[in-house]
Amino acid sequence: MLMPGAIEVHDLVVEYPLYRHVILDRFRALLGIFFLAWRPHVRRVLDRISFSIQPGETVALVGRNGAGKTSLLKVISGLLSPTAGNVCVNGQLMALLAMGIGFRPAFTGRENLVYCGLLLGLEKQQLLKLVPGIIEFAELEAAIDQPFFTYSSGMKARLAFALAAAVPFDIVILDETLAVGDSKFVTKCYRRLREIEKSGKTILMVSHQLGEIARLASRVIVLEGGKIVYNGNVLGGLRVYEDILADAVVGGANRSDRYGPLLVGLNVYNDRGEEATHVRVGEPVRVEMTIRSPHDIGDQFVVLRLTDIERGHLCSYLMPSRWDILGQQGAAGHDNIFIGAGETKVTWEIPHWVTGEGFYSFDVYLGPPTDIATIDLSQGHFWTAVSKLAVRYDNEWLRGGSTALEFPISGVHVSRDYIVSDMAVGKLREQEQVAGGQSRAAD
């Protein structure tokens, strides 16, 4: 017997009919239910998938389009019957696979709440008690008795999420549902999801927003071609997913061979030199990126990207010599650094942390040298959510997020601990000469 809130999937297979002639094949597919020998051609979208989710886990399903994520969610939700295999779900399940579906344009917002609430399994009396809270959460007090066709897409999304969040459940299933709505609404949804997470409910989500996954998920399952290619911690999962994406773009085993063995880490230190996961706005911060490589990979264009996870905003790009890709040109030399066998550290000294309160993620990109005017990031490799950072204000009155594209940097240092090779020695000498020349020019 499964514990409440648990999901178990064993050897799951899902096949869809392949249409040559839609009507004829649909007819055959329906007949095929009774006459099993007469089955249309099929496409297998999930191929012997097995995994389990424990109560209270937040699991993210990632994968390229067509990998089978939505089909898997539909089978778990009970919307789709599997071709073979077992699916066990214990607990009340709330599946939010699309925003605003089921709402009738001619109904008012209030009528739609009752109509869809009933469809979602709520009793009418229970629903009538919940309606005021739902309207308040959706902030639609003024428009709730207007016809639904007068609502903007943001208002529709707010109403849909507010209703879904009000339904009692043990397990919630989300399919890229937070990709809609304005940033204020998205922030509100995240707060609600955090509450759900803290209350010990199980969350199974599909998202292409890696920052969102890094913030929320405790485990990542990567699907590719209907099979599970990774099932484990978030960082590893995102790396595998990034590799799949990059392979799809670059298509090269060469790229994987080149960047696969690299280990990239990132640490944030506060003004006391302690490693920090939380910083205060205005506090001095040191960001240290470490790249470990088993062999020389030569000059690399290195970018550190800071993203506001909750709002999905890009805050800044930091580079070894160009402090901000969108802002001021740094004083020091060129944009690429040599990555040799061993350890390379790049440190950014930030005198004052300038973003607003929130949760931030650091992503790293390494790739071949590129023209700074037309940056091409398709040939390199991304490491997503290498590190996360929470930022807060001391003053309650200053709550809220802000974006800082121009990050103040008081210094950038590159240090190396190489396994000495001829290539490394040559490159280091070359870079020292460049740095020396610039230093003299600055003097």
């Binding site: 017997m1 329906l30 007949l31 019957s81 073979a84 077992n86 066990c88 579906i101 001619a106 109904f107």
Partner: protein, 280 residues
């Protein structure tokens, strides 16, 4: 709630609440009534006459058809009040049945987005559609039967009302069974939505609604009519309200038969609807 799918060939799997049939029937009935009531209230919003159309529409339909069929038959003289009310009552039953058939042919396609995105027992969709139409039908029936009792003297009106009551239950159950079957037929053969309207119109003009004396019709038409289930329903209805002396006076047998058909249609819908999401 634990859901499980086991077999590699024909997996047992529940969609929403369908699996726990008997336990959830009362819950589904409440759901159907609530949804139907919301739809029923909202349906008349978009017109100026609103609820007025409930009575006006079948009256117009009956009047128009009576005129056309009477002209074609070469009728002369004034149509009696009895004939007008009888036609109105016959058209009510016929148009409700045809409305359910036509409305449910494309119901799964119409609600495709809901079916593939929201977890709910979508087996109730045809039942909600039938119930909304039935609420309209009952309102019309109440007025029609009231007029019938008021204007045409009946010695055994108490017995007639019992027959009407039995017919109302049988007709509702039969319509639900029809809706489930038709919704699947419409998915497999969508061309039916183009073929059926003229066929139904033709059958209506030949039906007992406009031909109280079936013996007058040609043998071929009589044969077609006797095979037409809608004509059978209208004949039963007319027998129940004593419009025709002859006719299938079998409301109780009909009730049992309908329950059996309904159970079979429910089972069929349960099996087929599981696969619907894949072919939609």
């Amino acid at each position: 709630m634990t859901r499980r799918s086991n077999s590699s060939v024909a997996p047992e799997y529940e969609i929403g609440w369908i699996g726990d049939e008997m336990i959830n029937l009362s819950k589904m009935a409440r759901l159907v009534l609530n949804l139907a009531w919301i739809e029923f209230k909202a349906q008349r919003k978009d017109t100026f006459l609103g609820w007025g159309w409930i009575v006006l529409w079948p009256a117009l339909q009956a009047g128009g058809l009576l005129l056309v069929v009477g002209t074609l038959r070469g009728d002369t003289g004034v149509t009696s009040l009895r004939t007008m009310i009888a036609t109105y009552l016959g058209v009510l039953v016929w148009s409700t049945a045809v409305g359910v058939i036509m409305g449910n042919l494309g119901i799964l396609q119409t609600h495709r987005e809901m079916i593939v995105h929201i977890r709910f027992p979508f087996i109730v969709l045809p039942v909600v559609d039938v119930t909304v139409k039935y609420l309209v039908f009952l309102t019309q029936l109440f007025i029609g039967v009231g007029l019938w009792l008021l204007l045409v003297p009946h010695a055994t009106w108490g017995l007639m009302l019992v027959d009407v009551l039995v017919f109302v239950v049988v007709f509702y159950l039969a319509l639900i069974a029809t809706a489930w079957i038709v919704s699947l037929l419409g998915l497999a053969a969508p061309d039916l939505s183009f073929i059926l309207p003229p066929v139904f119109l033709l059958l209506l003009t030949l039906s007992p609604v406009f031909h109280s004396d079936q013996g007058v019709l040609s043998p071929l038409v009589y044969y077609v009519n006797s095979l037409n289930p809608l004509s059978f329903v209208v004949s039963s209805w007319y027998a129940a309200i004593d419009i025709h002396e002859s006719g299938p006076q079998l409301p109780w047998v009909l009730l049992i038969g309908t329950v059996v058909v309904l159970a079979a249609a429910y089972k069929l819908a349960m099996v087929m609807y599981r696969e619907v999401a894949k072919v939609l």
